[in-house]
């Protein structure tokens, strides 16, 4: 893709590693060094890397890997990955591993104390205000304990290399650490696109970490449950890390649930299933604690479950990490960890942190205020003030304002020494823009280096210690602040294994055996059920639309230049009946068209008028994602539904969807539809390139259908997916027959129209074979409505949808209405006499057929409404009771 490849490699073990002396390393020591992983001569060339980069981009798109909120206007952006890995030597990693284990143990001890005896506070080992003023300190969960002896189950640490090339922690992520699944995905992709190098290198695997995580979740279960039910509590598809959450759930075999899928009854947490409630014992929490319970925590939160804190207090459910764990994310803690390690663990802290000063202490505040211009300033509460402030980027005024804010609420701030391989450049050129650039005191680090780079490591409580992921999520950025939200690029992290140690070939695959008992398949929530059903509907809707457009586009190519011919007249029928939304409206483009214009111009060939007056917007019906009912729109919705139930689907599902989206996007970019019929060239352009694009789309949709048909067990989820597809197809079929078969036209015209209809319903080959005299209306009805062996017929759809729905459990609601409506349509089909209804009245219409089809149409619509009502009803969101602030008697 012509990407500039990084010339530096800020995270790999330096070429000349730090030897403990103060000599330090230079930037020159940070360059990619392939000799660590491959034999001389086998190093990937720049061309290899460029190819791998492009390939990685494609794979990530196929897997639907994104970061950022999935806003309607596409806020989520593709995950960026540089396939050149970070390579860390084994001895260096072994030392880091020990440091990370010790750090996790220390943080765990602090967490236990903060919600327990608070000895660290009373003994002033940790200034009480660091904890008491932190919004992560949740008084509502004071005194609660996790089963299993650990409070901190999962922790992540952000590391950088300091000026001597040594690892240095800049932050701990203890709330609900994200990124482990991104790291796994990075590994999968890099292993594939750098296969040659990957196979030669001896690399430690990520699998053991995920095994340990499964075990940790089991260990966290309340004692009474022998077969704990574990679920991942997600903050939903609108979350920035939605992919990470969903992929982690599917890797661990956990149902992905949202707050609305759960409820608290009898002091326990239950998951809403289609046929009732199922107990939940452990929740892997990806919702920030404060949002987890609108009763006891943040009122009005829709991400949580009212009563959750009560259930935790009752000891019937465990949250991983426990509520309140984010108190450890306070960067002020970094200043006290060495002291705490000595007191609590009786050990020296192995892994240093970036030098940090908590402004709540007078001396530290003085230091920070004096050195504002060269420090990084961090609010102790993450996310309250927009994160890190780089002191050297501030102007005079801004710095004074910041100093005022720090003085007013000193406990809310820390100053941190900037760390980077380039080393803080204290005497560098003053940096800053704007007119109030300071003159005297404006010295600061010129830059943190050519790129900033952060390694996020993961550790999980396992047995009596912690298991650290042998690798992690590396991110590099062109600016000083590394954030996935502002466009950091990820890298895989290869921790070298000593050659003596054999590495299991398959260990990087998602663990095959399920340690955690999976909730039975019927246990899908109404939300999941609804998404699966709509996946089926949107997939079918996109397919139906694509088939229609292919046929209409073909006829357009053949006949648009000859409007008065039989083909031209058939084209007009097809345009007006099958794609009426492609035709220009009266006010469109200022070109007079439509019936009024035709009537006032009797000389013109009436039938051809719409086609010639302004070209139909066939391309828009395929490509425009903003318009209801287009292929692009349905595919986008299909993708959104699929992403919301990622844990239920094979990864293979996402490839075809991504490819369809890509094909549509490319075609959109390629050319634009002309606004008016100014020339024959413009008219040809109506469909130019459309046919191959539609073929590509259809191919992708058939792959989606194939994966559903062949790759899914026939459980309730599949039944819903299939039911959605059948209902959609039945509706589409009836409506397209209504539009095309009711009016009689010249025999030659109708012959072409009928053939086109058969083609859109994938039945033209059968029809040719079966009705050698040519299919007339009765034959078309026989094949498309009555024939139960034709997988495209209405009778077939009805059989299937009834069978599917019978297999879907129902709790409470009555299915009578639904079954009654579908039964009526079945009866209408059975009573249909294709010959009798095809009789044409004096008005040129098949009135009986019209009536029958209309009866079918509204019943199918109503049946679809009933399905929604019966199966997918979710409670209205909870509302906070009005406060008793000033209540009248």
């Amino acid at each position: 893709m012509g990407q500039t490849l990084p010339v530096t490699d800020l995270l790999s073990t330096p070429v000349r590693p730090a030897d403990g002396s103060d000599a330090g390393v230079t930037l020159d020591d940070f360059r990619p060094d392939w000799s660590r992983v491959v034999d001389p001569g086998d190093e990937p060339t720049p061309a290899d890397l460029a190819r791998a980069h492009a390939e990685a981009e494609r794979l990530l798109a196929d897997h639907g890997v994104t970061y950022g909120a999935d806003a309607p206007d596409g806020g989520a952006h593709p995950w960026r990955l540089d396939p050149a890995p970070v390579v860390v030597d084994e001895p260096e990693w072994t030392a880091l591993d020990a440091g990370l284990v010790q750090r996790a143990e220390l943080l765990d001890a602090v967490l236990q104390d903060v919600y327990g005896a608070r000895r660290l506070l009373t003994d002033q080992l940790l200034p009480p205000t660091t904890v008491l003023a932190h919004p992560g300190f949740l008084r509502q969960v004071d005194g609660l304990r996790m089963p299993g002896g650990r409070e901190l189950v999962l922790t992540a640490t952000d590391l950088v290399r300091d000026g001597s090339g040594r690892w240095c922690a800049v932050a701990d992520r203890t709330q609900a650490p994200s990124g482990a699944a991104y790291a796994m995905e990075d590994r999968r992709v890099v292993a594939q696109v750098m296969a040659g190098t990957y196979r030669q290198a001896s690399i430690q695997r990520l699998g053991p970490f995920f095994h340990a995580l499964r075990q940790a979740l089991r260990d966290a279960a309340p004692r009474e449950s022998d077969e704990p039910r574990v679920a991942l509590l997600s903050s939903g598809p609108a979350s920035e890390t939605a992919f990470d959450q969903a992929y982690l759930a599917s890797m661990l075999g956990l149902p992905l649930v949202e707050g609305g899928d759960l409820l608290v009854r009898e002091g326990r947490v239950w998951m809403r299933g289609l046929d009732g409630l199922e107990r939940v014992d452990v929740l892997l929490r990806r919702v920030d604690a404060e949002w987890c319970d609108p009763l006891d925590l943040r009122a009005g939160s829709r991400l949580g479950v009212p009563g959750l804190v009560r259930a935790v207090r009752a000891g019937t459910v465990s949250l991983v990490n426990p509520l309140g764990s984010s108190v450890l994310e306070n960067p002020a803690l970094l200043a006290y960890l060495p002291r705490l390690a000595r007191t609590v663990l009786d050990q020296d802290l192995l892994l240093p942190s970036a030098a940090t000063w908590w402004c709540g202490e007078d001396a530290s505040r003085q230091h920070v205020l004096t050195n504002l211009a060269r420090l990084v300033l961090l609010p102790t509460a993450r996310g309250t003030d927009g994160g890190a402030i780089l002191g050297w980027t501030l102007g005079h005024r801004e710095r004074a304002d910041l100093a005022d804010r720090i003085t007013a609420e000193p406990w809310a701030w820390v100053g941190q020494e900037p760390v980077g391989p380039a080393g803080p450049v204290v005497d560098g050129t003053p940096v800053g823009v704007g007119s109030d650039l300071p003159t005297a005191d404006g010295v600061g680090p010129a830059d943190l280096g050519p790129r900033a780079a952060v390694l996020r490591t993961f550790a999980v409580a396992h047995r009596s210690t912690y298991t650290v992921m042998a690798g992690g999520l590396a991110r590099v950025a062109p600016q000083a602040v590394v954030s996935s939200a502002t466009g950091a690029t990820a890298k895989d992290v290869w921790v070298l294994a000593s050659s003596a140690e054999p590495v299991a070939e398959t260990a990087d695959e998602a663990p095959a055996e399920t340690l955690v008992a999976r909730v039975p398949a019927s246990g899908i929530s109404p939300r999941t059920a609804e998404n699966l059903y709509w996946m089926g509907r949107y997939a079918e809707r996109a397919e139906d639309r694509t088939r229609v457009l292919r046929v209409v586009a073909d006829r357009w190519d053949d006949f648009h230049a000859r409007p008065a011919s039989v083909g031209g007249r058939a084209l007009t029928v097809l345009l007006t009946s099958l794609t009426p939304d492609a035709l220009p409206t009266e006010h469109d483009g200022g070109t007079p068209s439509g019936p009024a214009a035709s009537a006032s111009d009797p000389a013109g060939p009436v039938a051809s008028r719409p086609a010639v007056a302004a070209p139909p917007a066939l391309r828009a019906l395929a490509l425009d994602p903003r318009r209801e009912g287009t292929v692009a729109r349905s595919v986008r919705r299909l993708g959104a539904c699929a992403a919301a139930v990622r844990d239920q689907l094979s990864t293979d599902t996402f490839g075809p969807i991504a490819r369809i989206e890509r094909a549509l996007r490319d075609e959109r970019a390629r050319s634009r539809t002309p606004r008016s019929a100014s020339s024959a060239a413009d008219l040809r352009a109506v469909t130019a390139g459309l046919r191959p694009a539609l073929d590509g789309v259809l191919e992708g949709l058939l792959a989606v259908a194939g994966i559903a048909a062949e790759g899914l067990v026939r459980d309730v989820g599949w039944r819903l997916l299939d039911a959605g597809r059948r209902i959609e197809r039945a509706q589409h079929l009836v409506e397209s027959l209504q539009a095309t078969l009711v009016d009689q036209r010249a025999v030659t015209v109708d012959r072409l129209v009928l053939e086109s209809v058969l083609t859109t319903h994938e039945s033209v080959i059968t029809a040719r074979r079966r009705y050698q005299g040519g299919a007339r209306v009765p034959q078309v009805l026989d094949l498309l409505v009555l024939d139960r062996t034709n997988p495209r017929s209405l009778a077939y759809q009805l059989d299937r949808v009834q069978e599917d729905l019978a297999a879907v459990p129902v709790a409470g609601a009555s299915t009578d209405q639904r079954d009654h409506l579908l039964g009526d349509v079945v009866a209408l089909v059975e009573e249909l006499d294709p010959v009798a209804v095809s009789v044409v009245g004096t008005d040129g219409r098949r009135t009986r057929l019209a009536e029958t089809l209309e009866s079918m149409r509204w019943r199918l619509r109503s049946a679809a409404d009933e399905i929604e009502k019966v199966h997918f009803v979710r409670p209205a969101p909870g509302q906070a009771l009005e406060d008793l602030w000033d209540a009248p008697a």
Partner: protein, 305 residues
């Protein structure tokens, strides 16, 4: 000399459409403190909850969770208690500590205010902003005439309460739970919670520990009139710390020290920590305005129904 009270606090929500699930938490049970003992207490919820759980919270208050799963259009939460109160009938403001307020602040700041480490942690906590108490210039300006250099802490407390009582107007319905101190000071009218929050904000801003007390005050009818039953109300006041006296309870709404007419439910950093009742309901309809009846009468009076 002790007084014994019967307390009834009933909250009623009437909904337009059925509520299928109702989750709630109450802090409606008086806690035991020096000068007050809860002799008996019950909490009735109608419809009967499928699940209840009581515990003592972080602040030491008695709180109860309930979950009603029976569809209903009316929720009634009634707490009944008998409380023995042995506080002084006429506490004397003149006997409050006389240490200059700056010294109080310094002693807390330097951690020498008390030898009890746990108490010290609580004092530190009572200095910090909290959900309903913020540090603003408007509060600083309001407090300035009271917090003059060297003024004894006792005087500071009495004067703040007096100025809130005289410079602000008590007006029912003039504020909501979302009203800030700045808004209150702009409109110069509020209710007891607002006054308590304002006084707490003023004290904390000057390094003086303060917390929020939730409870009731016995109202007495005008001479010759009979007391209106059920017309009492929830009340809120301030607990401020002064060396030698400990936590001093003072009521800015009524400009007086808390005496034997008060019953305490519990305390927290502010209203957020100790609302009498909060809840979450599930209904297709809308929520409802609560109606509240409180009756605080000498024990042995005819029961209030």
């Amino acid at each position: 000399m002790t007084r014994t009270y019967d307390l009834v606090h009933r909250t009623t929500y009437t909904y337009a459409q059925p509520v299928t699930d109702s989750y709630g938490r109450t802090t409606l049970t008086p806690r035991d403190v020096p000068g007050q003992t809860c002799l008996a207490t019950t909490l009735d919820i109608d419809p009967a909850p499928a699940d209840t759980a009581a515990h003592v919270d972080y602040f030491g208050n008695r709180t109860t969770y309930f979950g009603v799963t029976e569809p209903h259009t009316r929720l009634v939460v009634t707490s009944r208690s008998t409380i023995e109160v042995s506080r002084a009938a006429e506490p004397e403001p003149d006997r409050l500590p006389t240490m200059p307020w700056e010294e109080v602040a310094e002693s807390v700041r330097h951690g020498v205010a008390t030898a009890d480490e746990h108490a010290l942690v609580r004092l530190r906590e009572a200095l910090l902003p909290s959900p309903h108490v913020s540090r603003t210039q408007a509060v600083r300006d309001f407090a300035a005439p009271t917090l003059t250099p060297g003024r004894p802490i006792g005087e500071v407390l009495v004067d703040l309460a007096h100025r809130i009582r005289t410079e602000l107007t008590y007006r029912s319905g003039s504020t909501t739970v979302h009203t800030t101190q700045d808004q209150l000071l702009a409109q110069r009218a509020g209710v007891c919670q607002d006054f308590a929050h304002l006084m707490i904000a003023a004290l904390r801003l000057h390094g003086l520990p303060a917390r929020y007390s939730s409870g009731y005050i016995e109202t007495r009818p005008p001479a010759g009139r009979e007391k209106l039953r059920g017309a009492d109300a929830s009340h809120a006041w301030v607990s401020a710390w002064a060396p030698g006296a400990g936590w001093v309870e003072i009521d800015p709404t009524n400009d007086q020290l808390v005496d034997d007419r008060y019953v305490l439910l519990g305390w927290g950093r502010d209203y957020h920590d100790v609302p009498p009742l909060r809840g979450v309901i599930f209904t297709e309809g809308r929520g409802a305005h609560p109606s509240v009846q409180v009756d605080l009468v000498p024990s042995g009076s005819d029961p209030f129904v």
